[in-house]
């Protein structure tokens, strides 16, 4: 029987200060990335026109750009995509002097520029997206609301199944994951598309999953080891679930790697965000969710609280860092 970390007895909780340091550093990086160059929203969110075209590999990008300028489309991004000769053209601003919510004028102008520069019939359109700014704005609001509401739904569920203390800890850990993932997206300059938002929400589910499995063990061990310190119960629970964590993360990473390598251009950002999510999710379950749970327990002792027996390992500071 091959068991990874079967009888592990690491002092996870004892090392939490180092973990806070890492989290702090990552938060700083996130802020730097967000302030420095911000998020690169896809046209689904900003509105605009996207054309994926297949042309000759030697197509002149500069000529394409000036052709677009001549058609009244300024500042378009032209990007090689996948195989040579495949391009993505993104025009975020509408053709000068047209109603941006009526997407067709801009889309037609991009087509006209291509006809002129590349030549009619010398290219095929693989994909076309045209979104008015109104629709894009609606989608942004919807995406934010979805993340926001799912937060509360999970909090409510955990409050019913466990206790509100567990729910609060899990949600704080999830918030940590989302913020760091956003930082990762900014740092890697990934485009924030619907698919990436989907990845962030899946990552939330996955990270919660991990937290819940540890908490489930904590709940069980709190009943089993009534005399132990809370931090010992946490440590024990994390160690006991470690083999499961390693294996599940392993299989998940295996499929994600396959998706990142073979899944194609559209899916790659999804896979990358999820890969990051697996790591941050694991990290936050151990180093954010568990210490926060401990801190909450000390602040508002529950039925299973260790009360006065608590050795209180500098709880306040732990809480402050997490809230930052």
């Amino acid at each position: 029987m091959i068991r990874f970390f079967a009888n592990a007895n690491y002092d996870f909780i004892g090392f939490r200060r180092i973990a806070y340091g890492i989290t702090g550093a990552l938060f700083v990086l996130t802020i730097v990335a967000l302030v420095g160059w911000g998020l690169n929203y896809s046209i689904e969110f900003t509105g605009g026109t996207l054309l994926q075209v297949r042309a000759q590999p030697n197509t002149d990008v500069a000529a394409m750009r000036s052709g677009l300028d001549a058609q009244g489309i300024h500042g378009a991004e032209i990007q090689a995509y996948g195989v040579p000769g495949d391009f993505i053209i993104r025009a975020r601003t509408a053709k000068v002097g047209t109603d941006a919510d009526d997407t067709q004028a801009t889309a037609a102008a991009v087509g006209a520029a291509l006809d002129q520069v590349v030549g009619t019939g010398n290219y095929t359109i693989l994909r076309r997206e045209a979104v008015g700014p109104k629709v894009g704005g609606e989608l942004r609001t919807k995406a934010l609301l979805a993340i926001f509401y799912s937060f509360f739904a999970v909090l409510a569920y955990l409050a019913i199944r466990f206790e509100w203390r567990f729910g609060l800890a899990a949600v704080i850990a999830t918030a940590h994951d989302i913020i760091l993932t956003v930082g990762f997206v900014a740092l890697m300059r990934l485009e924030v598309s619907l698919v990436v938002v989907g990845a962030v929400l899946s990552m939330v589910g996955y990270s919660l999953n991990d937290t819940i499995i540890i908490f489930d063990r904590v709940r069980e061990n709190l009943h089993k080891y009534k005399r132990d310190h809370f931090s010992d119960v946490l440590n024990r629970s994390i160690n006991e679930t470690l083999p499961r964590s390693i294996l599940t993360h392993g299989t998940t990473l295996a499929t994600l790697t396959a998706l990142a390598i073979f899944g194609g251009e559209v899916i790659r950002p999804f896979a990358l965000v999820m890969v990051f999510g697996v790591f941050t999710g694991t990290f936050s379950s151990i180093y954010i969710a568990s210490p926060v749970l401990m801190w909450v327990e000390q602040k508002w002792p529950g039925a299973d609280a260790r009360g006065v027996k608590q050795q209180a390992p500098a709880p306040r500071r732990a809480g402050d860092v997490v809230q930052a």
Binding site: R3, D102, I125, L158, S202, G205, T251, T257, A258, G263
Partner: protein
């Protein structure tokens, strides 16, 4: 525990397998296609796996449409949107698309999804064409000619002088603002007669064209300028009473010069397209040009008969979406039920599309496309192949890990994984859910995550074995204790997936659906099917003392 009898468990598992496999058996599906040779819409029957593929996988077009009220506000937007929806349904039904989706989204948008279409430009035209048809009599009183001098004077008062020839600035309004005269450089090609408008608009006869009452010619290059001058409010106020003007749909050439006819017409139509009961494309045997033959309902026929009877010898303009089609013909006699529209310089296919939109009725208000997603079929095919490759590689890695670590138990988990895939696809087919590209990615990802429940159970069994329990008891306890973690973690995943579904558009909705179904079936396979496997195993080897795990 429920279903403790092994026979019951095997029976239930077998039933689920049969149901899922049955849902996935290729079946005859009716596809609506356009015959490439005859261009006729027809239905063909093909056998295919009943899994709906999203637009991003099979290619197609998604349009978000809203009422375009920039030119004319709608009196009752909600009613107009519903009307537009009905019209679009009729049009697309005849266009020839398999399972089109046409539905209202929110209170102000219509979503149209057309899978597998090959000519997106044409599809867009069919969706957007207003198809507002009307018949009006052209003016014989030469009222415009009489009014032109007054219009010129009004424009002169505003600072617009004549001589604005072909090559002048396009916007008369800009000139008004600048108070500048474009007449400084008169063009050689246009004889300047003094007036701003009268210099642009001339009667057919003056241009050397076979004359016709109510018809005027404007040189093609000056159309935009003439149009903007005509819409200046002071000029509009001088336009002859009870008359209106419309431009021709296509230009004509006189000698080497190209003109756009302008028609002065009565302000009331004799009859409109709402009285149409049928319209059919055809070829005019005389000119070989494309025509559309139409038929009116009884009330329309009576109106048409009265109108044309009163106007024998007059000319009748056929106006489609505010453009005059062809040169207005002279009314030879009273026309009642049937008539035809001559389309100059249009292809037979355009005649067919026009007939189609006329049959379906006019859109109450123009529609604008506020979002458009279009994926070529080749890209969709490519996406499927990549997704399948990623799935195969990912699954192979998961199998390797599971069997490597859990030996025979791992094999049971892999077998359960096969059931998982079968069930998930089966449920997707049963619910008629759509498999999208993100959904495909979600499915691949879920293979990695689906084994989590088995991993939880196996680890628990191992713990129990380490504590010295017998194989049978360890398995029992392992399943029992892993249960709460499995349920709680899966419920939270489903909750996030539900919110994803709520906010997402097509592809993301597909992802949320696949994820939700995947999570639920993975629970069933991990908890129920794997357990059944263990029970079969223990049943065959009742004296098993060590477990391969």
């Amino acid at each position: 525990m429920l279903f403790t009898s092994l026979k019951t468990r095997i029976g239930i598992t077998a039933a689920m397998v049969i149901a899922a496999a049955g849902a996935l058996v290729p079946r005859s599906t009716t596809l609506r296609v356009v015959d490439p040779d005859t261009k006729q819409v027809r239905d063909v029957v093909e056998r295919r796996v009943p899994l709906k593929r999203g637009l991003d996988l099979q290619g197609g077009m998604h349009l978000g449409l809203e009422l375009d009220q920039s030119k004319r506000a709608s009196a009752d937007p909600a009613k107009d949107l519903d009307l537009a929806l009905t019209v679009l349904r009729k049009r697309i039904d005849e266009f020839g698309v398999t399972e089109p989706l046409i539905q209202k989204q929110g209170s102000d948008r219509i979503v149209v999804e057309l899978a597998g279409i090959t000519d997106p430009v044409r599809a867009k035209q069919i969706v957007q064409k207003n198809a507002f048809l009307e018949f009006r009599i052209t003016d014989r009183s030469t009222a415009l000619e009489k009014a032109l001098p007054a219009m010129d004077r009004a424009l002169a008062r505003l600072g617009v002088k004549g001589g604005g020839g072909v090559s002048t600035a396009p916007s008369a309004v800009a000139q008004l603002l600048q108070g500048d005269s474009a007449g400084a450089q008169p063009s050689d090609s246009t004889p300047v007669e003094g007036g701003a408008l009268s210099g642009l608009i001339q009667s057919s006869a003056a241009a050397g064209y076979d004359p016709m009452p109510g018809e005027y010619l404007v040189e093609e290059g000056a159309v935009a300028r003439a149009d903007s001058l005509l819409s200046v409010s002071d000029v509009r106020a001088l336009f002859p009473r009870r008359l209106e003007y419309r431009w021709a749909a296509s230009p004509i050439s006189v000698g080497a010069r190209s003109f756009r006819p302008l028609y002065v017409i009565e302000d009331r139509p004799i009859v409109t397209g709402s009285s149409l009961v049928d319209a059919k494309e055809n070829i005019d045997p005389l000119t070989n040009g494309a025509i559309v033959e139409f038929e009116l309902d009884r009330r329309g026929a009576r109106q048409f008969g009265e109108g044309t009877g009163r106007n024998v010898g007059n000319y009748m303009a056929i106006i489609l979406d505010d453009r005059v089609q062809g040169r207005p013909p002279v009314i030879q006699e009273r026309i009642e039920r049937r008539g035809q529209i001559t389309l100059t310089g249009k292809s037979f296919q355009e005649a067919r599309d026009l007939a189609l939109t006329l049959r379906a009725g006019a859109l109450p208000v123009p529609l604008k496309i506020v979002e458009e997603f279009e994926v070529g079929a080749s890209l969709g095919e490519d996406s499927i192949n990549k997704g399948i490759l990623a799935g195969v590689v990912g699954t192979a890695l998961v199998i390797l890990i599971m069997v490597g670590i859990y030996k025979v138990s791992g094999m049971l988990a892999v077998a359960a994984l096969a059931f998982y895939l079968l069930f998930t696809l089966g449920v997707l087919a049963m619910l008629g859910a759509t498999l999208t590209l993100p959904g495909l990615a979600g499915l691949v990802l879920s293979i990695g995550i689906a084994v989590d429940a088995n991993v939880l159970i196996f680890e628990r069994i191992r713990e129990e074995l380490v504590h010295g329990k017998t194989v049978r008891l360890a398995i029992q306890e392992g399943f029992k204790h892993a249960m709460s973690a499995i349920v709680d973690s899966n419920v939270s995943t489903v909750l996030t997936a539900l919110f994803l579904f709520q906010f997402g558009t097509g592809p993301i909705k597909g992802f949320a659906v696949t994820l939700t179904i995947g999570v639920i079936t993975s629970m069933i396979t991990a908890v129920f099917v794997t357990r059944t496997f263990y029970m079969i195993w223990l049943d065959r080897r009742p004296t098993m003392e060590t477990l391969s795990i």
